[in-house]
């Protein structure tokens, strides 16, 4: 009996998806940080200029994007710890799979816990 090949997708398992998510979240946070340093720099222009721009962070659309940012930073940071453990901890490779699911549950869980309060502030019914 012949063995069915796994397909051209790189393995397609936890190792691949954690890498894809880590990369996308890292790039997204990087671009946020570029903008964030510029918006913070407005405090040196005038209080008015800073407040006007920061108001946009309190609108519904950007408010929703902030949930994505919180989720991304949680996932990237916690998965970063997982990568470090795989590299330096003797049992890291043995537990890498379960560690991925712990990372995912924590990232989604903490974001979900934060969501209602934040939505109340940015949506204002």
């Amino acid at each position: 009996m012949s063995v069915v090949p796994a397909g051209t997708l790189y393995r397609g398992k936890v190792g691949m998806w954690s890498w894809v998510l880590h990369r996308i979240s890292g790039v997204a946070i990087f671009f946020f940080l570029l903008v964030h340093i510029l918006d913070t720099a407005l405090v040196r222009v005038s209080p008015e200029a800073y407040n006007v721009v920061i108001e946009s962070y309190k609108t519904p659309v950007i408010g929703l994007a902030e949930l994505g940012l919180v989720g991304a930073i949680l996932f990237h940071g916690l998965n970063g710890v997982r990568i470090i453990l795989v590299d330096f901890w003797s049992k890291g490779t043995k537990y890498q799979n379960i560690m991925f699911w712990i990372v995912l549950v924590l990232a989604v869980g903490i974001t979900a816990y934060f969501t209602p309060g934040h939505l109340e502030r940015v949506l204002e019914f």
Partner: protein
């Protein structure tokens, strides 16, 4: 005449600094520090009090009146931006085939990051919480005491 041959299994001599190794290590040392710095930053600014609603000039002035938060933010700025830049460099190296394009992109990346690190550092340390000509309503409450003294 005899030919001198190196012992095949002798360790390779490392003559130049292995920057790739230090970059790799930097990612793994800055990571845990960034967890503490960034998670606290987002917790204080977004999760506690009025969350995003509390952010305005007076809020920033209140934080940066304390050198503790000034240094906190500067450490976060340097560590995060260098970490992000090294990470973006890896991404660029993965997707560019032409050496010239790669050099141009990585050069641009470091220029932008360097400029923003400089800007961010200057902003923190030249910050004036009570700019004299500003509307007092937008300033932190402690400015009144300073103005009337």
């Amino acid at each position: 005449m005899s030919v001198q041959i190196e012992i095949p299994n002798s360790p390779r001599k490392q003559r130049v600094t292995n920057w790739e190794k230090y970059g790799w290590l930097y990612m793994r040392i800055s990571g845990p520090l960034l967890i503490v710095l960034i998670f606290t930053h987002v917790f204080v600014n977004l999760f506690t009090g009025e969350g995003i609603k509390q952010i305005d000039f007076a809020f920033v002035a209140g934080k940066w009146a304390d050198p503790f938060w000034q240094w906190w933010d500067v450490a976060m700025l340097w560590l995060a931006l260098i970490h992000g830049t090294l990470g973006m460099r890896t991404v660029i190296n993965d997707y560019t085939e032409k050496p010239k394009l790669r050099t141009a992109l990585v050069g641009t990346l470091w220029s932008v990051s360097g400029a923003l690190i400089l800007l961010g550092t200057l902003v923190v340390f030249t910050f004036d919480p009570c700019p004299p000509t500003s509307n007092p309503d937008l300033l932190p409450s402690f400015c009144e005491a300073i103005a009337s003294s």
